[in-house]
Subunit: 195 residues, 2 copies
């Protein structure tokens, strides 16, 4: 299986898992959506869980918790804005995929296995980022870094859930950017030290 | 069907819909969990969608958007704290029921019908509450009331989703109350006028 065919399978899986869930998607549907033979899917990924692992791996690589460490040179405002815009853009693009999969983790062991500790690790990375900024005097010291991280995570994840699951209008890219900027402003006003 | 039997059916449905979803739950399972005959379920509610309507009706009656109008005599801090604690308590009790159902609304028409406009109406009620508080000079006027409402809604709904879906530890009632108080403090610091 060529790299581009493998990439098409992962794209197709991300779409189908977000639309109808992991369990309800067959490898045949994956192959059809990707425009490849079903046999190629098995050769390239072993089984449906192998495709899921590739999908989850790609999303995790783009998560803001992991990216927080790359933002050491930025001001608090620049870093938080960049993280929020990135998480919302990714989440809207993938149609609430991770939330849908998180629901299935409760009842589908294959999904649970790949999710084990994922969101917790992401939140812990965000908490470490805010703890650093507390030590640097940029984030108010009277709240737990975990609480600040949870508030940040909530704003962006809810923004995505409302628009991919609950049917709120997302609006244009410029409107999304403006709404996220308003939420970030509110968050920063509450989280910054020395106002 | 007696009132208490009907109430047991609604309780059973709320549990089963949260655990495995609406579509995967049968009226027979509902009857078994409630300890009544399946025939009684049909007599009392017509069909499974009738049970769903009763479940959703009960949750909606407890939603903070609707309750916001009852809070006119309270300070901003008292009102927001009461709303947040109530929404989290209800959400943890029902195990993320509404989020699970919202996901099914994308693919199950019977669920979509009952959800039509529900979350939007709830958010609009919250936005009206914050707009009132802006006019009263209590909430900063430079952000849209919708943005403030969305930030509030995000904090409490994500808190519930993390603990009912993503597998975060909820902790004791006292710990939950303390965590929510921290999130409310952060939100209010960002949202209050004249800091």
């Amino acid at each position: 299986m060529s790299g581009s065919a493998a990439s098409r399978v992962v794209d197709a899986a991300a779409e189908l898992f977000a639309e109808r869930g992991y369990q309800a998607t067959t490898t045949r549907q994956l192959a059809e959506r990707a425009g490849v033979n079903e046999v190629s899917v098995f050769r390239g990924f072993g089984n449906k869980q192998g495709v899921l692992a590739a999908v989850v791996g790609r999303v995790v690589a783009e998560q803001p918790g992991r990216a927080a460490s790359e933002l050491t040179g930025l001001s608090l405002r620049e870093a938080v804005t960049a993280l929020a815009q990135r998480e919302v853009t990714n989440g809207l693009r993938d149609g609430g995929l991770m939330t849908r999969l998180a629901f299935e983790a409760r009842t589908v062991p294959e999904v649970a296995e790949l999710f084990a500790g994922g969101p917790q690790a992401n939140l812990a990375a965000m908490a470490a980022f805010f703890a650093d900024r507390q030590r640097a005097g940029q984030v108010r010291p009277d709240l737990a870094a975990e609480t600040v991280a949870e508030a940040f995570f909530s704003l962006t994840s809810s923004f995505v859930i409302m628009r991919t699951v609950l049917g709120f209008e997302a609006g244009s890219d410029a409107q999304v950017e403006q709404s996220v900027a308003g939420l970030v402003e509110l968050f920063l006003s509450g989280a910054e030290a020395h106002r």
